[in-house]
Structures are given as C-alpha cells and as structure tokens.
Symmetry: C2
Subunit: 301 residues, 2 copies
C-alpha cells in the first residue's frame, strides 16, 4: 500500500498537472518545493499510520484461504486520498489522528472492496482501456467473496472503535451512516451505475464532460466528502466546520476522479478542475492553524 | 416477501419433515395442530412487520434505475428465518419487537445481498442443481452493484435506529459488530468459501456430512445465531440469555441449512438434525413466559 499511497501526495499531483495542460509559469518554484516536501511527509506519515492500523486489524489468521487473499487485496488495491483526508480533517478541527484512524481504515477497506468488485469479469461489463487493472491473483469467485467480506469488516472495524472513555458512540454511529451512504446506492454505487451507461467506442469513452463530472462526483467526490466530514465529526468539529470540509472533500475528490479516471483526455476538463480547485480552497478560508496549509496541499500545487 | 416468509413457520417445517425421514408416529396430533396454528400467526405477524419496515425504509426514490431493482431484489430473494428469530429472541427476554425491528430488517438485507451475489454467473463458479435459482430480471453488473448497495444500506438502517430516548447506541454498535462478523469472512463468506471447495458431479454434490455441517453452520447457523443474539441484546437480555439464544440460533440455523440447502439427500443427515433439534430445545429450558413455546416452534414439530 505504501507505494500506492505515494500517488496521493502533492508532488504526485504536480506531476499529473505538468503532464496535462498546465503552463510552465504555474510550475512550483524553489520555496514552494520545500513546502511541498513538508506536506509530502505529512501525508506520508498519515498513510503509514493507516497502513499500520490496517495491518494490525487484518492479521493473517485461519482460515488462511480467506484471510491471505483479503490481506493481499486490501494492500494491493490502488488508493485514493479519502482515508488520508479523513485524518487531516480531524486534525484540522483540533482532534487527534487516533480519533479518526478507524474511520480512515474503514474508508480504505470500502474503496478496496469496491475496486475488487469493479475488476470482476462480468459478461455485460464494459471495460474501458483507461481504467486501471490489477493482476488477478485469485479467481472471480474468490474476488467476489473478498469484496463481500471486506465491506462488513470495515463496518466492524469502525464499530469496534467505540470507546467508553471517549463517550464517542454517537459519533461512531453518525460516521457509520455517512460511510454507508457514500459507498452505497446514493454514492459510489450510483456513480458506478452511471459509469455503465456511458457509450463505448473501442474501449475509449465517448462521454461528455457533464457525464464525467457526474460520475466523478458520485464515485470519488462523495467518498472524499464523506472522508473529510467524518474526520471533522470525529475530531469534534462544529456543524459549520463539518459542512465546509464536506464540500472541500467533494471538490477534491471530483478533481481526483477527473484527473485519474475515465475521460481524462476530455477537452475542457482542466477548466472545470481549476474551477473546483478554487472552490475547494475557498472552503478552507476560515480555518486557522498550522494544519490548513497541509490539507490545502491536496489541491494547492 | 410475504410468500417467501411463509416458508419460515412451523407448519412448513412440519411439511419438510414429513417429506423426509420422520415416522408417522412423530406427526402432530390435533391439539398440537392448534398450537402450531397459533405459532404460525406469531411468525406471520413478525414477518409482516419486518416487511412493512423494509418497504417504508426502501422507498422507490430517484435514481429509479438503482432503487427499483434494489426494491425488487430485496423482496424477491428467498428468505430464511434469521430476522424473525431476532424479533422472537427480543420478545423472549422481555423486550418490545420495535427494539429489534431495524436489526431484523438489516439481517434480511444482508441475506438478500448475499443471495443476489451468489446468483452471479461467474466463470469459475460451480452451480449445483440443488441450489435455488431466481429469474435474473437484471444483468450481472446491476446485480453486483445492487448487492454492493444493499449491504451498506443495511448498516445504515441499523445505525439510524440509534434513539437518544432509549440510550441504545452501545447496543446498536454491539449488534453492528455481531452482524458484520456473521455475514463476513468469519461467517457467511467463510461458509461460501467452503462451499466452493466441494467436488461436483454433474451438478450434484459429492460431499460428506461433516462438510455439509461445516458449510451450514457457517452460512445459515451463524446468521441465525447472530439474529437470536442480537434480538436478546436489543431486548435487554442478560449475557447468559444472549449466549443461550446464540447457541439456540446456531442449532436452528444449521438445521435450516441442512434441510433446505446443499446435500439434503445425504444419508445420516436426519440423525444430525434430530441431535441439533434436541440441543436447541435444551438451550430454552430456563426461559419462562408465553413466548417460549412460540420460539421453540422453530424446531418443535
């Protein structure tokens, strides 16, 4: 997972942008590179802790036929930054990252389960060339079961983080609802449904920018919105802070989807990305403290 | 769903047994038929309430392309008695059935999601003739997504039943963990994995009774054990009552799996069923009150 997580830091975003339509003038200068490096170690430290939490939570225990493949797929699935965003939001509102660690790990499990199911070879499934693929180490049946196992395990992990000393059970239940909605029929699953509807031409999509935006909002946008909101809830943020961070996550996630997912070559896409980047940063304007710069590095390159 | 639930009452169990290896001497006499009829209306009233709760919880809302098929599959999937057992256990320990209604509905959603995924046509999936099938109203892709949507929705429904007036959030979180384990990699998914391992011969299984027992314990047994334990938790039962009802559910569910699922023609099966039936009833011996007879009708025919 460590390698996968490298895609999530600011530096990587810079590379993506420099390959796309950003002009030379917008490339970072020396002092900005230093800040980026600091932000990079912020994200790296978060990601390392999420990985350690998950490794401890998913031991290689019997039956090994079930747990070994689950262990493999949880850490082999490509990552998105929603779990790290959850931790960053928690810290931004003054919480400790431990308070959001279980929710962040759950978000990673949900995303890994979804990715595993997305790779299943179904007879009526279009497979665009642009979608990332993984080596299928296991048969479809095992991969179906693994996804079906990871998802409830994510909810279990979250529920187990209930701590009488913190009196946080209401927060955990609220976050459970947030995550269930973001990955379910009003979020990621709805986005996957829209994705199926896109007409194909020799493996490349023929979909307009409105469609891409809709899919990315539902799939990546709402997962990131959920991650940021959950972090703020668990960190004890106010309702206003929670909603600001939810909107920040929605823009950030939609950008992630647009830059990495289907349709990334679409004309006019960078204009929408730039617009969402500005809207995202606007949501952070009223936050104070040292963590603002770190969280804004999601988009500020 | 009402029709599907009809399979769950005592009368139906009687028919199954009378078709199997039970002797004439064990058939119910007239007074027992009256009791069975009372028990039947007990189960029927529970099942009608679970159905109504689910219908209210899954409205036909936009996007209809997602919610209409979900609505269809939730109510078309064949049923097992785990949700009803959840309510019965709650009432047995002195709780009101409303306290366990969300958990029972969640159990139904989980079972429907699992069944939907079990029907997916995967290239490496054996399909025994004895397994029930449904008409595929939708393509595999939609059915995969629907299962992936139903599962988080089940957890959402459960988390939403948190009621500050009842101060039940710790119970809800405990039940969340119970359900996640029963349907995940230490429960139903593990059973489905074992099921894949059974050698096939022209669509009929060639597995021994030990294998059948293992699969049925993991798939149906642990789901019923979970249902009964969750009902007792939500109804305010003592730890001793919870564990007694968990064991009762394990026996009852394993019997259900053995009588309805793979390998039902296996020699010696009825001997094991009879043994489990006695062990199940033994767990109820120390319970008092009018509901004991009703819950024991799961096996007492």
């Amino acid at each position: 997972m460590a390698r996968a997580f490298l895609h999530l830091n600011g530096n990587q975003t810079f590379h993506i942008l420099s390959r796309s339509s950003v002009t030379r003038a917008s490339l970072p200068h020396r002092s900005m590179m230093v800040t980026m490096s600091q932000n990079q170690s912020y994200w790296a430290s978060i990601n390392a802790e999420i990985e350690a939490h998950l490794k401890q939570a998913i031991p290689l225990r019997p039956p090994l036929q079930v747990f070994e493949p689950m262990h493999h797929l949880v850490f082999a699935a490509p990552q998105n930054p929603a779990p790290a965003l959850c931790i960053a939001a928690c810290e931004l509102v003054g919480g400790h990252r431990d308070q959001a660690m279980a929710a962040a790990s759950t978000l990673h499990l949900m995303q890994a389960a979804s990715f595993t199911h997305e790779q299943l070879p179904l007879t009526d499934r279009p497979r665009p060339k642009s979608r990332p693929t993984i080596h299928h180490a296991y048969g479809p049946n095992i991969e179906l079961l693994l996804g079906d196992g990871m998802l409830p395990f994510g909810f279990e992990l979250l529920a187990r983080s209930d701590d009488p000393a913190q009196n946080n059970s209401d927060q955990i239940l609220r976050v459970t609802i947030e995550i269930a909605r973001a990955i379910g029929s009003q979020g990621m699953v709805e986005g996957q449904y829209y994705e199926l509807e896109c007409p194909q031409s020799e493996g490349e999509e023929l979909c307009d920018i409105g469609w891409i935006e809709q899919v990315c909002k539902k799939k990546e946008g709402e997962l990131h919105a959920c991650g940021a909101a959950c972090g703020a809830i668990l960190g004890g943020g106010s309702e206003e802070e929670i909603e600001k961070l939810r909107r920040f996550g929605l823009y950030v996630g939609t950008i992630q989807g647009m830059l990495h997912g289907a349709g990334k070559l679409e004309k006019g896409l960078m204009k929408v990305v730039e617009e969402f980047r500005n809207l995202a940063l606007k949501e952070l304007e009223e936050f104070k403290g040292g963590k603002v710069e770190a969280i804004s590095s999601f988009v500020n390159v």
